[in-house]
């Protein structure tokens, strides 16, 4: 059994962590801007990057099917193992649900997504203002849920590294130093 994540899994994990953090900050920033050409541009980029994140998570899950993650340290209590698995599943679920809710929201608001200005994506819903506003709340709510879970996720990773002193963090790091 492997004791580390594959390079691909590591690369995708950190690439997505960066992308999602960026998307989150840009999302908060842009929605408060007054309408301007600049705002329209940022919205488009947010949607394109968000769809990219959606594609990346699908790729990541496909990879994961063929490359199961390494087992958690044997000494970890069963409830912590269950919590870790549960949390990871929730994170994946949100990484799918958030871009989907964004796509649905844009469809309902009548703003089609044209990926990088080139590839028109089908509208998933017909135009419906009320539904669009509801989905905006859903998109926002899912985002803050993800943010909260990521804080817990990072805290858990740091706990493993600093207190349990196991290899849970280092096996996800790209430049793996020897175990201490």
């Amino acid at each position: 059994m492997e004791t580390r994540y594959t390079r691909t899994a590591i690369a995708l994990h950190w690439l997505m962590a960066l992308l999602l953090t960026g998307l989150f900050c840009v999302g908060l920033y842009m929605s408060d801007l007054p309408l301007s050409p600049q705002k329209l541009k940022i919205y488009s980029w947010h949607k394109w990057a968000g769809i990219t994140a959606f594609l990346l998570v699908l790729l990541r899950l496909a990879w994961r099917v063929g490359h199961p993650p390494p087992l958690l340290p044997a000494g970890m209590p069963a409830w912590q193992q269950a919590a870790a698995h549960g949390l990871h599943h929730l994170l994946y679920l949100l990484m799918i649900a958030i871009p989907l809710s964004g796509w649905l929201m844009s469809s309902a608001k009548g703003f089609q997504t044209v990926y990088f200005g080139v590839l028109p994506l089908p509208d998933l819903l017909p135009k419906d203002k009320e539904l669009g506003e509801l989905l905006e709340v859903v998109h926002s709510g899912l985002n803050f849920t993800l943010a909260g879970l990521v804080v817990a996720h990072v805290a858990a990773a740091l706990k493993h590294h600093l207190f349990d002193r196991d290899d849970v963090l280092s096996r996800m790091l790209p430049f793996h130093a020897s175990k201490h």
Partner: protein, 190 residues
């Protein structure tokens, strides 16, 4: 003598009936629609105007005699989203306080063959007047005449979207306008 007179009178009535029976001039505001498609960042956005009035007269047998006038209440715009609706009333766009209405006055109608025609006229928005031509089709539905047509408006010709908005890479210069006008046949003129 009297038979000739009756014959002439009959002919006159028949001729008048043929020529004057169908002139479409009762504008049906509730059935007519004025919509447009703008493009933001390459994405088509549907919009419409809910309030417009007008007058027209169109006889399919004598299209060149047709005329039309349209007054558009710009405040009734739906530009696709609340943000956009708030934005377009302002100075860089329609400047509604100064220019609450847009008008179109036809100058000529030309038959293009079959049910196709071409409308030419002057469109005034925001104090600027431009010549436009719009092909349209005409068909009858019961006692109504239906006109479907459209043209491409270049928003910058009317100074729509000044300043930062003049950048056509974000909001395209071309706006596709579509009209669907319904008019009832007027009471027969004899």
């Amino acid at each position: 003598m009297s038979t000739t007179r009756i014959l002439l009178a009959t002919l006159a009535v028949v001729a008048a009936g043929d020529l004057g029976a169908v002139e479409y001039s009762q504008f049906q505001a509730d059935k007519s629609r004025l919509t447009f498609v703008s493009k933001q960042m390459g994405v088509p956005i549907d919009g419409s105007f809910r309030k417009f009035g007008g007058s027209l007269s169109f006889d399919p047998a004598r299209p060149t005699a047709a005329s039309a006038r349209l007054d558009l209440d710009l405040a009734s715009i739906d530009a696709g989203s609340r943000d956009a609706n708030e934005e377009v009333v302002g100075k860089p766009w329609f400047n509604l306080k100064m220019f609450p209405t847009a008008t179109f006055v036809s100058s000529a109608v030309r038959p293009l063959g079959g049910d196709k025609f071409e409308l030419a006229g002057k469109l005034t928005i925001k104090g600027r007047t431009q010549d436009i031509t719009a092909p349209f089709t005409f068909h009858q539905e019961g006692s109504n005449g239906i006109f479907d047509g459209g043209f491409v408006l270049k928003r910058l010709d009317f100074a729509l979207g000044d300043g930062v908005w003049a950048d056509v890479a974000t909001v395209a210069n071309e706006v596709q306008i579509k009209f669907h006008i319904v008019a009832a046949a007027a009471a027969t003129r004899k």
